[in-house]
Symmetry: D2
Subunit: 281 residues, 4 copies
């Protein structure tokens, strides 16, 4: 039986780039991390060490910095689209690109309602993401949110599940629901106001989470995805990853006290891991 190369890709990851866009009355600061992956005619690179078709990952990195000067002026989706087309058009040996960008959030400082023109505060875990996968057949564009830590202190329960020999969990009609949510959705067009849409979809996700009477993480996940698809015709499908960050009531009974759902052990591991995609069809 022969041995041969299967699926393969290569590129530069974690190209960390910041940019100052100087507006008339303030400086816009942006910080992103770009990853490029290329697929194509790279078989002899693997089997013979022939690098003649290899665009060095160092060159890819340079390209990202250079192109950012003129073309990173709006949403990360727009810049990712530009990069994807650039690598595809300038490299005939490349048959598919995969560009991913993560944007690190910074907000302008504000004092007594006045926004400062060039001072920023950053460091939130929540990040805006995008990916473009493009080949001769077209492209798929997604946007998303990563590490969105959301939590509700009530309107969440978990009851009616299977009771069997290894079940020890107690049913509850009132628990903390907390998740470090990741949402990724697919757009049906490359000509959208991505920045505005991102903000709107984010609000829809938060609002649905906040107002949902949750019977399970699964049900809340579905409601969040459904709300996005109902509201935004530009979105064709949405995937949600909702790890259940458990807040476990501390046992005060053992010390003769009553825990009226107020003191919890905040745990990281193990965690429930709930994933689902909501689609049209």
């Amino acid at each position: 039986m022969n041995i041969k190369l299967g699926k393969n890709a290569y590129g530069k990851n974690a190209v960390n780039l910041s940019k100052i866009i100087r507006h008339a009355d303030y400086h816009e600061f942006r910080q992103i991390s770009v990853s490029v992956a290329l697929e194509g005619d790279f078989e002899t690179a693997h089997t013979l060490g022939d690098n003649s078709k290899i665009l060095a990952t160092d060159t890819q990195k340079n390209t990202v910095y250079v192109l950012a000067k003129e073309h990173f002026t709006d949403g990360i989706e727009d810049f990712a689209l530009y990069l994807s087309a650039y690598f595809l058009n300038n490299n005939p040996q490349v048959t598919r690109t995969n560009i991913e960008i993560i944007e690190h959030p910074y907000q302008r400082m504000a004092f007594n309602g006045d926004t400062h023109p060039h001072a920023y505060i950053g460091g939130g875990s929540e990040k805006h993401t995008t990916s473009i996968v493009q080949d001769a057949d077209g492209l798929v564009i997604t946007a998303g949110i990563k590490d969105l830590l959301i939590l509700k202190t009530t309107d969440s329960g978990f009851e009616g599940y299977i009771k069997e020999q290894y079940t020890s969990l107690k049913e509850t009609a009132d628990r903390i629901l907390a998740t470090q949510c990741q949402a990724t959705w697919t757009y049906n067009s490359t000509s959208l106001n991505f920045t505005q849409l991102f903000g709107q979809i984010r609000t829809t996700l938060l609002k649905t989470f906040a107002f949902h009477k949750s019977l399970s993480v699964q049900q809340t996940l579905y409601a969040m995805g459904e709300a996005v698809l109902q509201t935004y015709p530009e979105v064709t499908e949405i995937s949600l990853v909702m790890p259940n960050k458990h807040h476990i009531p501390f046992n005060l009974d053992q010390f003769g006290m009553d825990n009226k759902n107020e003191i919890f052990i905040a745990t990281d591991e193990p965690f429930g891991y709930i994933t689902g995609t909501v689609v049209r069809g």
Copy 2:
């Protein structure tokens, strides 16, 4: 020459606790991580394995959860003071306590200006901290901020430093100044409105950073500390740790382009590490 026990301490770290405080019209959600360290008459525990004076770290953990029910109702400084006194008063073998609390920030979600009664968003890197060190001589109480990522796109330069044989850095009158700041300050009293003061001091730190015409990280650090001491008589001294998160201009010259201070390589390591304490005297 004899061998003997020197300085020693023990306790429970990372007691991760969350609490819901139910107000009339909303739920207040708090998440903290408590560390307890005890010093005292523990020599025979070390030399003989005599545990008779050892308050098990598991018991310390239980104590934190139990006491949180009645006594974690306000600032983390207040709860730390309570815990410190509790351990000291209930354990004659303990001569010194060191309580540290880190609070993880959560904000109530708001939609169209309406704050939701029980839905929260968290995940910021910035954390509120406190520590109490207490013994028979009294106590030292500090509060602080950790992992405060702040950045300004201008009003920062670095010039006039030593030029010697291994100097390659170019002087600049206009650079990005970014730091993941840690500030820790000491209060002169245990009877303060800690929550309000924390917010005010945080604003003073941010404001000074934002409006300072920085000639170096050292100068900005000093200005920030000085502003806090000038404004808050309750603060006796303040220490600042300001790692310099470098944003290095990407060399566009090599590609025949001009980098007008707009495209940067955002780096994590190595980093300048600037620390200083500002005191009264």
Copy 3:
């Protein structure tokens, strides 16, 4: 257009378990992290909040601990197979399981050639992994290595790649090749001596890396995969992920010195990211 549930799964992640297996003359210590994911008839859980078919993730966790007592006695592959079959056979609503186990390495301490019966040293980044995906059509079993940090100081070059307008990388016939390798391979049977095979395949990977005259990461990756397929008929395909951990020669020229390939800047980001699968066919 209707909205409906697409692909979905749920389970418990990071079930961190340790076990002592008491042999006649020594204690065997094992530490693993188990993740369970279930797919199946869970549509109404999402759309109606009907939990009647939900095996709580807490119950899954308990099940892992309970079954470890009798059934985690050999390789993690064997335990994963047992868990997978258990969840599938005992839950008619489940149509597909995905069990993943990561084993954290511990070695028995040895002094002057004598292995200690119950003292261990751990903490290596390298981990042994396995995954089982099983449904009515059968199962796919993989094993692998994660976070294997390997490096060679010579016998590695990178030349002959595309030179274009944004290329600044210099060709070299002698560079450091370093990678934090991840390898995952598929077995053709569930009745193998997995522990022995893992050790043998690991050695083949290391040996190929060490002795290969590398013209590129791609070529070394392919050689490593090819060697495994050539040597082990039990392996049907192998995927390798080889991030290029760059060690960049420090520019001593600027200080009138010569860097004879001896002093390097060790960098984490950005990094080349090379992935490839080697298959039979």
Copy 4:
């Protein structure tokens, strides 16, 4: 009351450097992370933004790389001593240096007993550390180990501790003792064979841990420190940090089974935190 500058320092952290030392028959690969901190006459830098006495941290970084060429040829202690003296002697404004180096461990690959001349495996969590603090009064040199994950499956108990109202921990004469140990010791001379001593002290620490009949973490910590002081007259004192990485017996009783000390929940947080210094006197 006046406001003034208190204790302050600055320098470059995380200068990540790798070096190939070419021996006749093999390549020695070393990877270290160097941190430099300087104290001295820097008051006007803080108060006036006067940088004329500032050795830029970028220059410090360059200096580390340059000096590594000739002077990083043996132990990290030797290189740290050289760096410390260099910065102190060449910068009259500097009154105190603090050099810290962490070495990342790499081992040469071996196949059938043959050590490969230039292929390495790395990635262990355990690291060798050193620090030099030097001023006009002399210097303090320490060496140490960080992130040493050690564990024993028996010969460890914890009994006879205080039982009070919040005690729920059960006494045990047989438990897992696991710790991610940090040890730091001070040498009485700068003219020692540091590399050899490090290896010997490490073995003494491991051996004492392995063979100790532990009644508590405190007792084992003291025994480890005592053994080092007893064996190595060059060591004047040793500090140990031993977080107790708890392995908690899983409750099998609830499912009608017996946990004969064999199945444990491996936890990260909270953790007991035991620290102690053993001194001569």
